[in-house]
C-alpha cells in the first residue's frame, strides 16, 4: 500500500502560502530593524557630500552603481522622498507636522456624537478591508490615546497628565470610554483574524503600524470605564437633553456588548447564551441609526497627516468615506451574521454541518471576514470541532451517513482488541490509517469554504488533486478491509443514465473510496458552479460548461446509485435482526443518499436544459463569440479544464466528446428545444421534492431556512428557464433561419434567481 504522505499536505500548503506568512510590499507588519543610534561613541560620521556628488557626476548618463543583489524591480516599490504623492513626510511650504487640532478643546454633546458616528463608519471601512491608516488611525483622539503608548488605563486618555482626582469633563469621559472600547474590540478582531486563514490583500489588513491597540490593558478595566461613562450620562441627562443622553448611551452600550460578544465567543458553548450580546447590539443598532441626525460632524478631528507618524511604507492615502447608510447596512448584517454563525455550534450531523458552512458562505453579500474567521475558530480551534467533538467523531459520523451505516468498521470497541490476528484488530488499525490520511482533506473542505468566493474556487483546485490521492489510498485500504470483513462480491448492474444494457459484474462495495470519490465529484461540481457565480465563463462558453457540469452530476448520480445498492444489500443481509437504533441509522443513510441523488439528478437535468438552450442560441447567432484571433477551441478547452486534467476518475472528456456533447450536430434545432423542454420537467420535479424535505431529511438542521431559500431560488431559475424555452420555441417556428425576431440577454450572476444558474432572458423584439 502506498500512502502518499507528502501529497496529503498539498492543500495545507496552499493555506500556508496565504498572506499571513507572506509579507507584502506595502502592508508589511514585520518589525523594522532596530533604529540606529544617531549619536554613538563608536560610530563616526564623515561628510562626503562633495566627494559623492563629484564621483557620481563622472558616471555616464544612464549608468548606475548598484549593489549586485539589489534589483531595479525592487526599486519600483521605493518611496520617492520629497514627492508629495509618495512621501507622506513631505510638508508643503509653511506647513507644520503637528496637528493643529487641540484635543483638549471643549466638545459639545452633538460633536461627540458626530465623532462617534464617524468612527463607526471608519470602523466598518476597516472591517471591509481598508487599512487602519486610512480609517480609525486618522482620528486625532485615537492617535492621542495611542501615542505615546499608554501603560495603564489612566494613561489611556487623549488628555495626558491630568490632575489626579479632578473629574473628567463629562463629554471627554464619554468619548474616551467609547474610543477605549472601540480600540480594544479592534485589537480582538485583529487577533482573531490573524489567527485564522484569510487573505491580506483581498480580505483584511491586520497592520497596526506599530500602534498597540490597548492589548496590554485589561478588558474589564475598559468595561468599567464604559459603565462609568454611562452613569455620567445618566447624571447629566437633564443638562444635555434626555434624547442626546440616550443616543450617546446606546453607542456606549454597543461597545460594551461588542466586547462581551468577543469574550463569550472564546467559550464555544451554548449558542443561546453566546448570542445575547449580539442580539443586544442588533437591538441598539436601530436607535443608533435613528439618532444619527443629532450629531454634528467634526471633520477637523480626522486627518491624513497622522499617517506621517505611522510606521508605514505607504504613500499618504485619503480617509475612506463610507456613508452612514452603508455603515448602517453593514453593521446590521454583521450583527445578524454574528447571531447566525453561533448556530453552527449546535451539531446535529456532519452533513448538516457542511450544509451550514456552504449556505452561510454563499450569502450575498458574503459575511465579513471577522465573522468568517469566527466560524473557522468555532470549527477548528485546537483541533476540537465546535469546541466539543473530536475529528474522529465527525469523520465517523460522516462515513456512517454516506457509506457505512451500522458498519463493523466504525465500531469503537474494535480499538480495544489487542489480539493481532483478530480481524477487528486489523479493522481498527486500517480505519485509523484511513482517518489519518483523510482527516486533513476532509476538514480542508470546511476551511476552504470559509474563504472569500474567488479563493474558495482556487482552493478547490488543489483540493481535488488532494482527494484524487485520498481516493487511491482509500481504494487500497478498501481492498484490505474487504478481506477482513470477508465481503462477498455482489452482481451489480448500474441502471441510472445508462444508455445500453451492461451485463452485471461481480463488484465489491469499496466504501471508503466511494466516499472519497463522492467528495471529489462534489468539489468538481462546485468549481464549475463557482465559475458561473464568479463570471469566469463568457456567454458563448456556457453551453459547454453546463454540459460538463451535467456530466459531473451524472457521474455523481451513478456513484450514489452504486452506494445505495450496496447499502440496501448489506441491510438485507444482516446476520442478526436489526435493532431500532440500527434501523434508524440505515434510514438516515438512505435519506442522505436520496437527497444527494435528487440534487445530482436536478443538477444534471437543469444543466442539460441550459446547455441545449445555449447551443441553440449559438446556432441562431443570438449569442456571438467575441473575436479571439489568438485562441483556438482546443487551447481554450485546455485552459478551462486545466484543474480537472490530472483527475483520473472521472476522466476529463476528450475535446471531441466535449464538442460533440456541446454542439450536438446530429440534433436539429427544433429537437434540441424539445429536448430542453422535456428535461426541464425532470429538473423541476427534483427541485420541487427537495423543497419539501424536512430539515432532518434535507440534512440542513439549523440552516434549513437558508438552504431552502437556495433551493427555492433554483426552482425560480427553472421557471425562468421554461419561459425562455417557450419564447425560444415560438421565435424559431419559422425554421432554422428563425430567431431574427428574438432578443437575448445573458444576465449577470447576481441578476438571476440563483448565481449558479445563468438563465438567458429571451424576449420578442419589439
Amino acid at each position: 500500500m502506498t500512502m502518499a504522505e507528502d501529497e496529503g499536505t498539498t492543500m495545507s500548503n496552499e493555506f500556508l502560502g496565504l498572506s499571513i506568512n507572506n509579507p507584502n510590499l506595502f502592508y508589511t507588519d514585520e518589525p523594522p530593524p532596530p533604529p540606529p543610534m544617531v549619536s554613538s561613541e563608536g560610530i563616526i560620521a564623515t561628510d562626503i557630500t562633495r566627494k559623492f556628488a563629484a564621483a557620481a557626476a563622472t558616471l555616464a548618463p544612464g549608468e548606475l552603481v548598484k549593489d549586485g543583489h539589489f534589483t531595479l524591480f525592487e526599486s519600483v516599490g521605493a518611496l520617492e522622498i520629497m514627492d508629495p504623492k509618495m512621501d507622506s513626510g513631505c510638508l508643503a511650504p509653511g506647513e507644520s507636522l503637528d496637528e493643529e487640532y487641540d484635543v483638549a478643546r471643549h466638545l459639545l454633546p452633538s460633536e461627540v456624537l458626530g465623532i462617534i458616528d464617524q468612527l463607526l463608519s471608519l470602523e466598518m471601512a476597516w472591517h471591509l478591508g481598508y487599512p487602519l491608516s486610512q480609517t480609525l488611525l486618522t482620528n486625532v483622539y485615537i492617535e492621542a490615546i495611542l501615542m505615546p503608548a499608554p501603560a495603564t488605563i489612566d494613561e489611556a486618555d487623549f488628555i495626558r497628565n491630568r490632575n489626579d482626582g479632578a473629574p473628567r469633563d463629562p463629554m471627554f469621559a464619554v468619548l474616551r470610554a467609547y474610543c477605549l472600547g472601540l480600540l480594544k474590540s479592534c485589537w480582538y478582531v485583529c487577533e482573531r483574524i490573524k489567527f485564522e486563514h484569510y487573505y491580506e490583500e483581498e480580505d483584511f489588513v491586520t497592520n497596526t503600524y506599530h500602534r498597540s491597540l490597548l492589548d496590554n490593558i485589561d478588558r474589564d478595566l475598559i468595561r468599567d470605564e464604559l459603565m462609568a461613562a454611562r452613569s455620567i450620562l445618566h447624571n447629566i441627562r437633564r443638562t444635555i437633553s434626555e434624547e442626546m443622553a440616550q443616543a450617546l448611551g446606546f453607542r456606549l452600550e454597543l461597545r460594551t456588548a461588542f466586547l462581551r460578544a468577543i469574550e463569550l465567543s472564546e467559550l464555544r458553548s451554548n449558542p443561546e447564551s453566546l448570542s445575547l450580546p449580539w442580539s443586544q447590539m442588533k437591538a441598539v443598532w436601530e436607535p443608533i441609526n435613528k439618532s444619527h441626525h443629532l450629531g454634528s460632524p467634526v471633520p477637523k478631528a480626522f486627518s491624513t497627516k497622522i499617517q506621517r507618524k505611522l510606521a508605514s511604507t505607504m504613500p499618504p492615502r485619503p480617509i475612506v468615506h463610507l456613508s452612514f447608510e452603508e455603515t448602517y447596512e453593514h453593521f446590521r448584517k454583521l450583527f445578524i451574521d454574528g447571531i447566525d454563525v453561533l448556530k453552527v455550534l449546535n451539531y446535529s450531523d456532519s452533513q448538516s454541518l457542511l450544509n451550514f458552512v456552504l449556505t452561510f458562505q454563499a450569502q450575498k453579500p458574503q459575511p465579513l471576514v471577522y465573522i468568517r474567521t469566527l466560524l473557522q475558530t468555532f470549527l477548528f480551534k485546537d483541533m476540537i470541532i465546535l469546541g466539543h467533538l473530536s475529528i474522529r467523531y465527525v469523520i465517523d459520523d460522516d462515513l456512517a451517513i454516506v457509506v457505512l451505516p451500522c458498519s463493523r468498521l466504525l465500531d469503537p470497541s474494535n480499538d480495544d482488541i489487542e489480539v493481532p490476528y483478530d480481524p477487528r484488530y486489523a479493522m481498527a488499525h486500517q480505519m485509523e490509517l484511513f482517518r489519518q490520511r483523510a482527516a486533513q482533506s476532509y476538514l480542508d473542505i470546511f476551511r476552504a469554504f470559509c474563504q472569500n468566493r474567488c479563493r474558495v474556487r482556487r482552493t478547490l483546485y488543489h483540493a481535488i488533486q488532494d482527494w484524487e490521492t485520498v481516493q487511491m489510498d482509500a481504494m487500497a485500504i478498501d481492498r484490505l478491509l474487504q478481506v477482513q470483513l470477508e465481503e462477498k462480491p455482489i452482481f451489480y448492474q448500474p441502471s441510472l443514465f445508462v444508455s445500453e444494457e451492461v451485463a452485471p459484474e461481480p463488484a465489491y462495495s469499496l466504501p471508503l473510496s466511494s466516499w472519497a470519490l463522492l467528495y471529489k465529484l462534489r468539489l468538481m461540481e462546485w468549481i464549475v458552479q463557482l465559475g458561473f457565480e464568479l463570471e469566469t465563463y463568457q456567454p458563448d462558453e456556457l453551453a459547454g460548461m453546463y454540459w460538463y457540469l451535467g456530466h459531473l452530476a451524472k457521474t455523481r448520480g451513478q456513484l450514489v446509485e452504486r452506494i445505495k445498492a450496496f447499502t440496501m444489500h448489506r441491510r438485507a443481509n444482516h446476520r442478526l435482526p436489526l435493532t431500532p437504533a440500527m434501523e434508524a441509522q440505515y434510514e438516515r443513510s438512505l435519506a442522505y443518499l436520496r437527497v444527494t441523488m435528487l440534487d445530482a439528478v436536478a443538477t444534471w437535468e437543469f444543466s442539460r436544459v441550459l446547455s441545449c438552450m445555449y447551443t441553440v442560441l449559438l446556432r441562431l447567432k443570438l449569442i456571438v463569440p467575441p473575436p479571439r484571433p489568438y485562441s483556438t477551441d482546443a487551447l481554450r478547452y485546455e485552459i478551462r479544464m486545466k484543474p480537472f486534467l490530472s483527475i483520473t476518475l472521472p476522466e476529463l472528456p476528450t475535446i471531441e466528446a466535449f464538442t460533440q456533447g456541446t454542439t450536438q450536430p446530429e440534433c436539429s434545432t427544433a429537437s434540441l428545444i424539445e429536448c430542453a423542454s422535456n428535461a426541464i420537467g425532470g429538473a423541476r420535479k427534483s427541485f420541487d421534492v427537495l423543497g419539501k424535505l424536512s430539515e432532518q431529511d434535507a440534512f440542513a438542521v439549523d440552516t434549513h431556512e437558508r438552504w431552502l431559500r437556495g433551493t427555492k431560488n433554483c426552482f425560480k431559475s427553472i421557471i425562468a428557464a421554461s419561459i425562455a424555452i417557450s419564447n425560444l420555441s415560438d421565435g424559431t417556428k419559422g425554421g432554422v433561419e428563425g430567431g431574427e425576431g428574438l432578443q437575448v440577454v445573458v444576465p449577470k450572476p447576481d441578476k438571476g434567481y440563483h448565481e449558479w444558474w445563468i438563465v438567458p432572458k429571451i424576449t420578442q423584439k419589439r
Partner: protein
C-alpha cells in the same frame, strides 16, 4: 583632468573608473542623507546614478521637532529645573530633545533635494588600514 565623461568608444578614463570604484565601496554602508527640508534619512546605500539620486534600504526618517514642540520642550525643561535652578544658569538653552523618527523601508532620495551626505563608519574600523581617498583629494 581632461574629460571625465565616457569617451565615444565607451572606454572609461582612469578617473571615471576610480570614481565608480569609490561609489561601489560605499554600497551597503549606512548613509545619513539630509534633504532640503532638513529631514535626515538613515539607511543602507543601494544604488546611485549621475544625478546622485540615492536608493536607501531599511531607511528611517528623522525630523527635528517642530518649533512649537521645541518651545514646549524648552518651557518644560525650564519649569522642571525651576525648582532647583541656581541663579545665572541657562538650562532652557541646553535641554535635549529626541528627533522624532519612523521607519520607511526602501526609499529614493532625488539628488536635487540632497543637501548633505554623511558616511557612517565604526571608529574601530577607521583606524585600521589606509583610508580611501577620492580622485579629487589626490
Amino acid at each position: 583632468m581632461e574629460d571625465t565623461r565616457t569617451s565615444p568608444e565607451g572606454v572609461q578614463t582612469p578617473a571615471q573608473t576610480e570614481a565608480a570604484d569609490y561609489l561601489r565601496s560605499l554600497l551597503n554602508k549606512n548613509l545619513r542623507v539630509t534633504t532640503t527640508d532638513s529631514r535626515m534619512f538613515w539607511g543602507a546605500f543601494k544604488c546611485t546614478d549621475p544625478e546622485s539620486n540615492l536608493v536607501l534600504q531599511h531607511t528611517y526618517e528623522y525630523r527635528h521637532p517642530s518649533m512649537q514642540k521645541q518651545a514646549e520642550g524648552s518651557a518644560a525643561a525650564a519649569a522642571a529645573s525651576g525648582a532647583t535652578a541656581t541663579p545665572g544658569s541657562s538650562v532652557a538653552q541646553t535641554f535635549k530633545m529626541d528627533m522624532t523618527s519612523r521607519y520607511l523601508g526602501l526609499v529614493v532620495v532625488p539628488g536635487e533635494h540632497i543637501v548633505k551626505i554623511e558616511l557612517e563608519e565604526f571608529a574601530s574600523q577607521m583606524k585600521r588600514g589606509p583610508q580611501y581617498r577620492s580622485p579629487t583629494e589626490l
